[in-house]
């Protein structure tokens, strides 16, 4: 190469020595790799089961990927075709995408507006209202089932897209998450905008939201996953396949006598692909937002 043997120029940085390998860093990497493998095994199990015959799902079972019993003798790719066609997956898939997208849009709109109010507007009782909002986080989801159902029924939303999405377009947790981030943005920035004639709406849309890409993405991602994975509410709130999501499709592979695990797992692989892809392309923003919001898992 042309640069070989050339001395560093004056003022330039010395070559990076590379990470120092110490005993503790080896231990850290060991446990991280172990953790990564532990997270990977369920995915591999799902994949391998999706390629087995139904008999193999019963008799050829092992929790260890290195064990040949973990894998099918002959991969049954047809399971994916069967799962897709038997459970009307194309319809359910479309429904899941639409439901999740609408829910995400609603969550982003309602959460950002509420978070802005709690973070940047002084009004009487704001602290009390915020505490009240946080208190709703301790109420289990199952408690909302009957009131939500009565509400959507009386609004004529039973078995409609509105019934599946509107009740989940507002969330105390997402408001809290965004409010934490908005609070960190200096008030001086907003005040100078206000001097230039910007109102609250302009301040939110032109200053705060453009600065909040990472937390907004995190909220969107979590809302998407929550909507994508929900099962109980879609079953309760629908009576036909018209708007039922992919999770309902997966239940059709469970019968009273037992599950058709090979089809259930093939369906699960199909269902999980969009979520994995989404996370794959946006994981940097996701972790960045979690770090900046000060929330720890």
């Amino acid at each position: 190469m042309a640069t070989e043997g050339r001395a560093p120029r004056p003022g330039s940085r010395a070559p990076h020595p590379g990470p120092r390998v110490t005993g503790s860093s080896i231990a850290v990497y060991f446990f991280l790799i172990l953790g990564a493998l532990a997270c990977l095994v369920p995915f591999l199990f799902m994949l391998s089961t999706s390629l087995k015959t139904i008999g193999e799902t019963i008799t050829r079972v092992s929790p260890i990927p290195f064990d040949p019993e973990f894998w099918p003798r002959v991969p049954q790719w047809i399971n994916f075709v069967t799962a897709w066609s038997d459970a009307s997956f194309s319809l359910y898939f479309r429904n899941s995408v639409i439901t999740a997208a609408l829910t995400v849009a609603g969550v982003i709109a309602s959460s950002s507006l509420a978070a802005y109010a709690f973070a940047k507007i002084r009004f009487v009782g704001s602290r009390f209202l915020f505490a009240l909002l946080l208190a709703t986080l301790i109420i289990p989801d199952s408690v909302y089932l009957i009131p939500n159902f009565i509400m959507i029924t009386r609004l004529g939303w039973y078995d409609t897209l509105a019934g599946l999405t509107v009740p989940f377009m507002a969330s105390a947790f997402y408001i809290f998450l965004l409010r934490q981030f908005f609070s960190q943005v200096p008030n001086e920035l907003l005040e100078s905008a206000r001097i230039d004639g910007a109102g609250h709406t302009r301040a939110l849309f032109s200053i705060l939201l453009p600065l909040s890409g990472a937390p907004l993405f995190t909220v969107a991602f979590l809302a998407f996953v929550g909507s994508w994975n929900s099962l109980q509410w879609p079953l309760v709130a629908t009576r036909t396949a018209r708007w039922r999501p992919i999770t309902v499709g997966l239940t059709t592979f469970i019968s009273e006598a037992g599950p058709q695990n090979q089809l259930r797992m093939a369906g699960a692989v199909l269902a999980v692909v969009p979520v994995v892809l989404l996370y794959f392309f946006a994981q940097k923003r996701f972790t960045e937002a979690i770090a900046r919001s000060g929330i720890k898992g």
Binding site: T53, I54, G55, E56, I58, T59, R60, V61, D86, P140, S142, V143, L145, I146, F149, I150, T153, R154, Y158, L231, Q232, L235, V236, R239, T240, V248, T251, T252, F253, I254, S255, E256, A257, G258, P259, Q260
Partner: protein, 443 residues
């Protein structure tokens, strides 16, 4: 989590209904008299999927096309049982349940705590619309299962089909150690378990499923016990039969001739791999066992089913009945009658035979036997199961409201005892817990 959901729903439903000002007494006399079901449309929530779901839809279409009243049934898959239960509780609270719903007996009891169902005795015994003399053609154990003592003998459901708890036995493994027939008593069962257990070959006797209270019930009734008082006024869980059942199974575990399964259906895995000689399971699993045996890496082996072992070899074996029923929600007299007419049609022998051919569930009518003779010819184990049905003393688990939670308590107590807990103290605590749940869930 499931426990929390059930409890929340159970407690929330009466509050919601109370707030809506509903009359809990209802008017039973006006439910059907003078009703004309002509042209009525009703909705039926069921749990069937796959081939069963397709067959159910076809049968519903047949009914819709042929019934003289032009009743239209709209069959809807409403999820698995637990989800149907959640959905139904919410629908009752909202005032729009389906006219017809699949329900286990304890689930229908929970609905009836809120007076949401119809006592179907008025239809069964009606001179015009009822069963009439055909009532004798039904297996008594099947149709009596839905008569609920907790509600003064109200019939809260009607069975579309049933299955049984049986013992699956690996005859090849048994024969390899000189055993030629499945055990009939618990003493024989223990002896056979010891004989087949071989550490070198990794074979053992019984794949013990401690995750399902129904298996505990099967053990208890085989010793002459019961889970509930006959008058329907409470549970009987701290009994000598319960104690003997748990100590017996703990003994087998301690001897190493039985193994607890780590998760549901792992007993099928060990059975299919030729490791476990016995499992206890429903006849509805016959197809899965068949597939498991056929997938054995050394090729299929000889297997069969037999009655669950009993205390003594003589007399009819006491066998646990499985299966949900169809329940009718309170609506209008026309819709209620239409729902009943669909149930009655479904229970007729030709429909029962048609359903059995697809689902492999047992028909509820004795006269359907001749219509399913081809099934007996094709599947020796199905034929064996039918024989067991005809000789058995059929028993059913308590149909009490809130029994779901008691089932959880029973499996927890069973696991504790198997792990070495004091059986007397555990069963005493279980009884107290069950009594409280009974009281909390009572109508």
């Amino acid at each position: 989590m499931r426990r929390a959901i059930v409890l929340v729903l159970l407690l929330a439903l009466p509050l919601v209904l109370f707030s809506q000002g509903k009359d809990p007494a209802g008017d039973k006399s006006a439910e059907y008299r003078g009703a004309d079901p002509t042209g009525t449309t009703i909705t039926y929530w069921y749990q069937h999927t796959g081939a069963n779901g397709d067959a159910m839809q076809k049968m519903i279409a047949d009914f819709n096309a042929t019934n003289p009243w032009k009743i239209t049934v709209k069959g809807e898959y409403a999820g698995p049982y637990d989800q149907i239960y959640n959905k139904m509780v919410a629908a009752i609270a909202a005032g729009n349940p389906p006219e017809l719903v699949v329900a286990y007996q304890n689930q229908s009891a929970t609905y009836q705590v809120n007076n949401a169902l119809v006592d179907m005795n008025v239809y069964v015994t009606d001179p015009k619309w009822g069963i009439g003399k055909d009532i004798g053609d039904f297996f008594a154990g099947f149709i009596n299962q839905d008569v609920n003592a907790q509600f003064g003998g109200a019939r809260l459901g009607f069975p579309p089909n049933r299955s049984l708890e049986v013992m699956y036995d690996d005859m090849a493994l048994l024969k390899s150690v000189g055993i030629t027939a499945p055990p009939k008593t618990w003493d024989e069962f223990a002896a056979d378990c010891r004989k087949v257990t071989n550490k070198d070959k990794d074979t053992y006797g019984y794949a013990l499923d401690n995750l399902d209270a129904s298996h505990v019930y099967a053990l208890v009734i085989s010793r002459g016990g019961e889970f509930a008082r006959p008058d329907g006024k409470g549970y009987t869980l701290n009994t000598p039969q319960m104690k003997a059942s748990m100590i017996y199974m703990r003994g087998l575990l301690n001897q190493g001739v039985a193994r607890k399964i780590p998760k549901k259906y792992d007993d099928q895995t060990d059975f299919g791999n030729g490791k476990a000689a016995f499992t206890l399971s429903s006849t509805s699993g016959l197809t899965f066992y068949d597939k498991a045996v056929k997938a054995n890496k050394d090729g299929p082996f000889q297997w069969g089913i037999a009655p669950v072992p009993q205390l003594a070899a003589t007399g009819a074996p006491a066998i646990d009945l499985y299966g949900a029923s169809m329940s009718i929600s309170r609506s209008t007299p026309q819709k209620q009658l239409a729902a009943w007419l669909f149930i009655k049609w479904f229970s007729e022998p030709p429909q029962q035979a048609q359903w059995a051919h697809v689902s492999k569930y047992f028909p509820v009518r004795k006269s359907a036997e001749k219509l399913i003779s081809d099934l007996f010819d094709a599947d020796a184990n199905f034929a064996a199961a039918w024989k067991i049905l005809k000789i058995a003393k059929l028993k059913a688990e308590p149909p009490f409201a809130g029994y779901d939670l008691v089932r959880d308590a029973i499996t927890a107590a069973y696991s504790k005892v198997l792990d070495g807990a004091d059986v007397d103290a555990t069963l005493a605590a279980l009884q107290v817990q069950a009594d409280k749940l009974f009281k909390d869930s009572a109508p």
